[in-house]
């Protein structure tokens, strides 16, 4: 697989504030990479660096094997879609799509052809003569993508393109984006802080925190094998339950609770005894009829029950700490009840309490 975008020891400071710190990232040709992280972690900054809208303090950016660190944004072969779409409000959709091309002195016939093609791909043929003000959010987003599409770029950059939309539309457009990626097979770099988007869209996800990449991996790796507590906590909703305790000899213990880690895949083949934190996802807690077959069984006190239709979220206590459990929507549990649950250590995550890294 060839490299599409390579970021080499990138540094970026605003005044005295270091926003990106010696950041390295290789993105494959045709990959859908999602940059995920909480607000202010530097996602947009990194994307703007790649686009050439911000100048790095140090380091290099390569696109398609060329060093573009100092190139102009329009010369990099990138297209960008913004959170607010940044459509030119006084131009029609067609004007929006063709403006960049006209500027690059592309012949008229060629422009028309490309606009028509993009409009077809995005199914906005009927909208070409409207102004952005007369479009719905989803249509606007498609036009914004179209603007990059017509320019026939190698890399698409998206900065939270869905976060202004309502939940239903977001779900639809997600699917559409995925379809588009399958069809176009361009490299796409996508910034979001919504994990559902990240999980569903990404080939690989880069979790960022404070200008660094915490983990880079497939959605499955990120979800099931988080490299550190930050990632583990960040991914998943409701978020993972953590219990700080002690690890020794293949057994995690905290107070009365004792969990033999049978079936757990250690990162290092052998893990020494130390302070450890175990993380268990609410949806990996075994309940109902299946408890009987669970490797470990524990009893918890139920505090609050939140029925959510398809699921029920149960707030309980385990080893003195709040413990969330996701159950089926049809499960009937009530507050103050005592509940027996099962835990499967092979689906749990174990971290070193000090370094916060996965064991």
């Amino acid at each position: 697989m060839s490299h599409s975008v390579q970021i080499k020891s990138l540094d970026l400071q605003f005044g005295a504030v270091k926003v990106l710190k010696n950041l390295n990232l290789d993105i494959h040709e045709g990959e859908f990479l999602v940059l995920l992280g909480s607000s202010g972690c530097g996602k947009s900054t990194l994307l703007n660096c790649i686009a050439g809208l911000l100048e790095p303090t140090d380091g290099q950016i390569w696109i398609k094997g060329k060093n573009v660190t100092w190139a102009e944004p329009s010369e990099r072969g990138i297209g960008m879609v913004f959170q607010s779409y940044a459509l030119y409000p006084q131009m029609t959709v067609k004007g929006n799509l063709s403006f960049g091309l006209k500027n690059a002195k592309v012949p008229k016939a060629e422009i028309d052809k490309r606009v028509a093609r993009a409009a077809e791909v995005l199914q906005i043929e009927a909208l070409l003569d409207r102004k952005p003000g007369a479009l719905s959010g989803g249509q606007r987003q498609r036009v914004a993508i179209g603007r990059a599409l017509v320019r026939d770029v190698d890399v698409f950059l998206f900065d939270e393109p869905l976060s202004n939309l309502d939940a239903k539309l977001r779900a639809d457009l997600r699917v559409e984006l995925k379809r588009l990626h399958n069809q176009l097979e361009n490299t796409m770099i996508y910034v979001t802080h919504d994990q559902v988007e990240a999980m569903t869209l990404a080939d690989r996800i880069a979790i960022m925190k404070g200008g660094n990449i915490m983990q880079l991996g497939t959605p499955d790796e990120i979800y099931n094998r988080p490299q550190n507590i930050y990632v583990a906590d960040f991914i998943g909703s409701p978020s993972m339950n953590f219990i700080e305790g002690q690890y020794s000899n293949g057994v995690f213990s905290k107070g009365e609770l004792s969990l033999p880690m049978t079936g757990y895949e250690y990162v290092a083949p052998k893990t020494a005894d130390r302070g450890a934190t175990i993380g268990i996802r609410p949806e990996h807690v075994i309940t109902g009829e299946l408890v009987s077959g669970a490797p470990v069984k524990v009893e918890v006190d139920v505090d609050i029950v939140e029925p959510m239709g398809s699921d029920t979220l149960v707030w309980a206590h385990l080893a003195g700490k709040p413990f969330r459990i996701r159950m089926d929507g049809s499960a009937r549990v009530s507050a103050k009840e005592r509940l027996t649950i099962g835990i499967d250590p092979s689906r749990a995550s174990l971290f070193d309490t000090k370094t916060e890294n996965r064991l």
């Binding site: 080499k8 100048e55 790095p56 303090t57 140090d58 380091g59 290099q60 060093n67 100092w70």
Partner: protein, 298 residues
């Protein structure tokens, strides 16, 4: 990896004076000179003696600095037989300015408040009429207003003058306030109503404290307009010992006594302009902020 890192890296080296920067700063400086020149000329001239002025170069700094013109402008310049310069008018201007500014801002802000939060049937119609009124030349209204004021028994009094300033400042100030208040979230207004605050309580306790910038803008516009006003002050105030400073300025500048005493004229001009200038220089950023909210939206 070492050879991979060869080639351009880091921020693009910038020439300290790129072509763009030269154009930007160059233009700004040239334009700034055009704007600053008159002030400079006023200041240097006001510090020169008449012989030096007659020698010619208005841009040359004074060879011999003299404050005589300032003294003369302030205390000695003659109008008719009164030779007490601008000093007589200064306090009059202040006395006219303060009530006029306070009252016209109060009224305009309340009106803007009505127009943005308590619209009633027809309120927009009156507002449109007000805006068209902004285009009427003052001179046209001179006599009708005299008659109005006479009928109201206010002719010649300070309250009459305040009313006149109120009327002519109303269109632009109301527009500014209305637009600014329209940018205050409606929910705040609703919250206050649920909290049992009425028309005035909402205005005084919620809206006003949030609107400092627009009050500053309005104040500056009113202070400038009212302070610089000559026609209304002299027409609707009926006693010469209450004439505003601008009347004295007009008298000094227009009473040609032999050769024009440019230095005294400039000093007088500067003295008269001092109040609005100081307010301008002091308010700086707030003004832009207020303008931003008051003029751009809406």
């Amino acid at each position: 990896m070492t050879d991979a890192m060869s080639g351009p890296r880091g921020a693009k080296p910038k020439k300290a004076l790129s072509r763009n920067n030269i154009i930007v700063y160059g233009t700004l400086f040239v334009v700034a000179i055009y704007y600053a020149l008159p002030l400079y000329v006023m200041i240097v001239t006001s510090l020169k003696g008449m012989p030096e002025i007659r020698m010619g170069n208005i841009f040359a700094p004074p060879m011999e600095v003299t404050f005589q013109p300032w003294v003369k402008a302030w205390a000695e310049a003659c109008t008719g037989i009164n030779c007490d310069g601008l000093s007589r008018g200064f306090w009059n201007s202040v006395r006219i300015l303060i009530p006029s500014v306070v009252i016209s801002i109060s009224v305009a802000s309340v009106t803007g408040y009505v127009l943005s939060m308590w619209k009633f049937k027809g309120s927009e119609v009156f507002f449109s009429m007000l805006m068209i009124g902004a285009f009427i030349p003052y001179q046209v209204m001179l006599y009708p207003i005299v008659i109005l004021l006479r009928e109201a028994g206010l002719y010649g009094s300070l309250s009459g003058l305040v009313l006149v300033h109120l009327a002519f400042g109303m269109p632009i100030n109301t527009l500014l306030f209305r637009n600014y208040f329209a940018s205050i979230p409606e929910e705040l207004f609703k919250a206050a109503r649920v909290d049992g605050a009425g028309f005035w309580a909402i205005f005084v306790k919620i809206v006003m404290p949030m609107s400092l910038p627009i009050f500053v803008v309005s104040m500056i516009i009113q202070v400038t307009g009212i302070w610089n006003d000559f026609l209304f002050g002299v027409t609707y105030i009926s006693s010469p010992d209450r004439y505003p400073m601008t009347v004295q300025l007009n008298n000094i500048v227009n009473s040609v006594q032999g050769v024009k005493e440019y230095n005294v004229n400039m000093a007088a001009t500067l003295l008269t302009g001092l109040v609005p200038l100081v307010i301008y220089f002091a308010s700086g950023k707030l003004f832009v902020r207020g303008i931003a909210a008051g003029a751009v939206k809406g």
